[in-house]
Subunit: 267 residues, 2 copies
């Protein structure tokens, strides 16, 4: 079993309730990565809705930070069980306090496409010519990088040098686990914030909300991600992301609302 599958495993603990553990190996600094916590919550939805294993549209609101290396509980409510898709909510709690609220449409993805119109993968140097992600210049340890192999575009790898709010990079699991729809939920939240490319490493950019639209089961191999921020208003930014699989096919689109706390920056 892969690390990711092992460390997002839930056991039934009541009707539509599940128990698990937030492992410390997916931390950003001292905090569990949001995409990892989301994968835990979605594991509960997958168990409650076995006919519809793939997330099609997932929204998560991060109510409070997760607690690393502590138990968690996922409560699922099925809002509608349909033939081709089902809708459910999941609440991930720790210490009895809700941390994540998730609302998702679940169904079944195929590898195919009837009609592809746009959003081609960008030109990108191969992974071996890219720069491994590092936490050094953010001044935080990134345990998650022992789980995820992330290679950034050389022009965008150092905060404040891209000249634009964009980051592009390759991503895969270190242990060779192939990507799937649940992995995409993790991958869209595992890159440095795109705004770092423009403003430098401005510290923690906490996510308020993340929505991911899953389009296709990815081909095995590296996944390519590109993330952009279009504006910054009242200390809030929106970051748009796209994932493509190793065949260059569109896998997922993501959008997140996040806070910029420049006033709290140490500089």
């Amino acid at each position: 079993m892969s690390d990711f599958d092992d460390e997002t495993r839930l056991r039934p603990d009541g009707e539509h309730a599940f128990a698990g553990h937030v492992h410390p190996y997916w931390n950003i600094g001292d905090n569990p990565n949001g995409g990892y916590l989301l994968a835990l919550a979605v594991a509960g939805l997958r168990q409650a809705l076995p006919a519809h294993p793939d997330p099609l549209s997932v929204t998560v609101h991060f109510l409070r930070p997760g607690l690393s290396d502590r138990p968690c509980r996922v409560d699922v409510q099925v809002l509608r069980a349909g033939r081709t898709l089902s809708t459910g909510r999941a609440t991930l709690s720790q210490d009895g306090v809700p941390r994540l609220e998730v609302l998702a449409a679940m169904g079944e993805l195929s590898a195919g496409a009837e009609l592809t119109l746009a959003l081609p993968a960008p030109e990108m140097p191969p992974p071996e010519l890219c720069t491994p992600r590092s936490g050094a210049e953010q001044g935080v340890s990134l345990p998650i990088l022992d789980r995820l192999d992330i290679r950034l575009h050389p022009d965008e790898a150092r905060a404040g040098t891209a000249g634009k709010a964009q980051v592009t990079g390759w991503i895969r699991f270190h242990d060779g686990r192939p990507p799937d729809a649940v992995a995409s939920l993790l991958f869209v939240d595992a890159f440095p914030p795109a705004v770092f490319g423009l403003l430098g490493a401005i510290g923690w950019v906490p996510t308020i909300e993340l929505t991911v639209h899953l389009r296709r089961r990815p081909a095995p191999g590296w996944t390519l991600g590109q993330f952009r921020t279009h504006d910054l208003i009242d200390g809030r930014l929106v970051e748009d992301g796209i994932l493509w699989d190793a065949d260059g096919k569109l896998v997922a689109q993501s959008r997140q609302l996040a806070l910029v706390r420049r006033g709290e920056r140490k500089s």
Copy 2:
């Protein structure tokens, strides 16, 4: 009072519960428009969270069609009440059956921006040179067009002629009500599906889920919207939208997952 404010009014009916009416004036054919139903649900969130009147990020899952000209009930659950933003869910029910499930971050929008990077408004002929939206070629009546004045780009106004899955147009209330954040929730769901531009009027394209990120309080006057679909997989499409205000400033970004039922098309 404007039609929109009058027809999205809710009265308290228990703790964090509200009662209203789904008016028939916002119909697409026989069905209430999804954006209108969303505005009703968000009215409940606004009443339950008076310190945070503006939606910042709103996700709605359409569980079942709404019922036109019938009472509705909105139940709100406050998931987190914070200083600068609060998170809540709202369920809109009719005849005791949940129709919409909404998850939203509420806060306060300003008219300003610290940093604008991208997403400029496209070139667009003025409203008087554009084509009023009509339901004729879709073969449905559109009562909503007595409430909303929608003018489409002349090259994209007739289904199947744009040569791409894109629709661009101006929108405003007929009665002169100025736009605001709640109106943006309605506006992003009031245009013909972008896929019509490529495939023709292929019938009802029911929305499964819609997420809107609100960026700014719009300036008075016309709002400009542009909507695109990038692919069609397994009968599901994603439509991305952007709204700009009369000053050309970014107001909202939207994304929806919708079904294409070409097998059910009468042709």
